[in-house]
Symmetry: C2
Subunit: 324 residues, 2 copies
């Protein structure tokens, strides 16, 4: 058995951008290993340099292809790119589409690109905490851009992608009605709209629809936004169309965080979300660790219907939070 | 303006099964109105009679059609049926598929069927709590079966549907690779597998695949299950095939809860989940209500990176949980 290197000894290597050390620390982040907690505190203290781009879209929207194309384009521009895929349908996290897997292989051979997939279940629902900690690790390891990809369905998944500096929502022309209906719920969070598959003739219709929705104020009214107006960018991974325009939009977003009130509001919202998600995960962990003891009496009363779920939840919170 | 009836005065009408009173109480449940909390406690004390069936499947799996067909079949068998759709793609919650909307209209004209759609976002993430409270309201209003429908993508959505007595996972023949990949994650939670669109020639292949996965122990090994072996039922809303078989499986499940150890384990797991989700929602509410005050100092330190997210989360939990 390999000797276990303490996380604090991994840190200097992570800061030098050594990929094996990054990979080992990320495994501990994902497993919610308490041993790495202090190190993550030091990571957090040093983080904040990377531009974090959340990318989402419904299944079939072409978001994984966009992530690949964008990563390659960012590399050409001289940036190091980290990718975190929190998406069961993503080729990065074990999806089944051969073409995308091959594209991923391409990326994986480039030392300036690091790809990590996150399990979407388990870890006591600590997906948000694990993703945000992982972003920090890639950040301090010198990745200029960190792309966080999730499928745009599911409350947690949408929240996670929105806990980024810039949220990109990918729409594709010609998806089925049921799929499009799901999408409606995520248009609001877009800082940048991408219409993928722009080489298709029906893409211009999708672009026009989105622009009209924006013009009519049907989307894009998120309260954080005062200066920023979400652009609609049509891209094609096939022809390369739109990728420069997307890069320019991301660069403009980065400037927004250099000192504007809107940027500060966004950072505050992300920090609030992070603090709350961490508190929730601590609550869950203590509940599962302690459920044999003090909480089992509450559970019995709940099963016998002699206490209401709300009262049980309140008492659980009170009992569990005093612990160290 | 209509005078606001106190929730406690709605309760006797709810217990008599009066639909307008049910609808008003459910609106308060969804809005997390504190005024109805005490009444919900009384509702919970009386609940437990209904068989709660969670139904999920990926977009395009035909789960909404199955819900319609199942509801109609249960009505023919003399049962009252409540439906809660927590699914942005569901016709019950505002999806866009005209055919399903018409089917829904059919159902809506039957007084023995009550349909309610839940918003999947907002309410501070209290979707699980709101769904479970809503199930109780329908339960005490005399609905023998409550069907809870969610899209089978997203951690929260899958958890909610699994917080039922019987979880039905709907698979359809011939869906695309990307969609099927998402599905893989939800097969494990199925107490009953339904293969929809059994009138299609490729359905038998999907049935055979599922049976093989079950036989090989690739799915169905959930630790709660000792006596129950998840059946695979092929249904067609078109021909009515398989609906009787599905009804028989649900009836058998109901018997499982009449006294078996396996049934008790399931009820305990649901109660644990409910207690924890309620505690989480209380935590979130207090955080948002109090964020101007005691928690803002924590937030400032987090933004300045002088405290780690984990330490901030711990302190948040400690500060917030002492409140009444």
């Amino acid at each position: 058995m390999r000797t276990r290197v303490p996380s604090r000894d991994l840190l200097p290597r992570v800061l030098r951008g050594e990929v094996p050390a990054v990979a080992r620390l990320l495994s501990r982040v994902e497993a919610a290993d308490p041993e790495c907690r202090e190190t993550l505190g030091e990571v957090y203290a040093r983080a904040g340099g990377a531009h974090v781009v959340g990318i989402t879209g419904v299944p079939g929207s072409g978001k994984s292809t966009l992530v690949s194309a964008l990563a390659r384009r960012l590399r050409q521009a001289g940036h190091k790119v980290g990718i975190i895929a929190v998406d069961p349908s993503s080729p990065f996290s074990g999806g089944s589409i051969m073409g995308d897997r091959i594209r991923m292989q391409d990326l994986a051979n480039d030392e300036g690109i690091y790809i990590r997939s996150m399990a979407t279940r388990g870890a006591l629902g600590g997906m948000a905490r694990a993703t945000l900690d992982s972003v920090d690790v890639l950040d301090v390891a010198g990745f200029h851009h960190v792309l966080v990809e999730t499928v745009g369905v599911g409350q947690d998944e949408v929240e996670i992608v929105n806990a980024s500096h810039t949220t990109v929502v990918v729409s594709a022309p010609g998806l089925g009605d049921e799929i499009q209906a799901i999408k409606a719920g995520i248009l609001e969070i877009a800082d940048v709209h991408v219409v993928s598959k722009a080489d298709r003739p029906d893409a211009s219709r999708t672009v026009a629809d989105l622009r009209q929705m924006l013009a009519l104020g049907m989307v894009g009214q998120e309260k954080d936004r005062t200066r920023w107006h979400p652009p609609v960018v049509a891209t094609s991974a096939l022809t390369g169309q739109g990728l420069d325009e997307l890069l320019a939009a991301l660069e403009e977003r980065r400037r927004l965080f250099a000192g504007s009130e809107e940027g500060r509001r966004r950072l505050r919202r992300i920090a609030e979300y992070r603090m709350l998600k961490t508190a929730e995960e601590i609550l869950r962990r203590r509940f599962h660790e302690g459920s044999a003891g003090r909480t089992s009496e509450l559970l019995e009363r709940l099963l016998q219907r002699t206490i209401s779920p709300h009262a049980a939840g309140e008492q659980l919170l009170a009992r569990i939070s005093g612990e160290g």
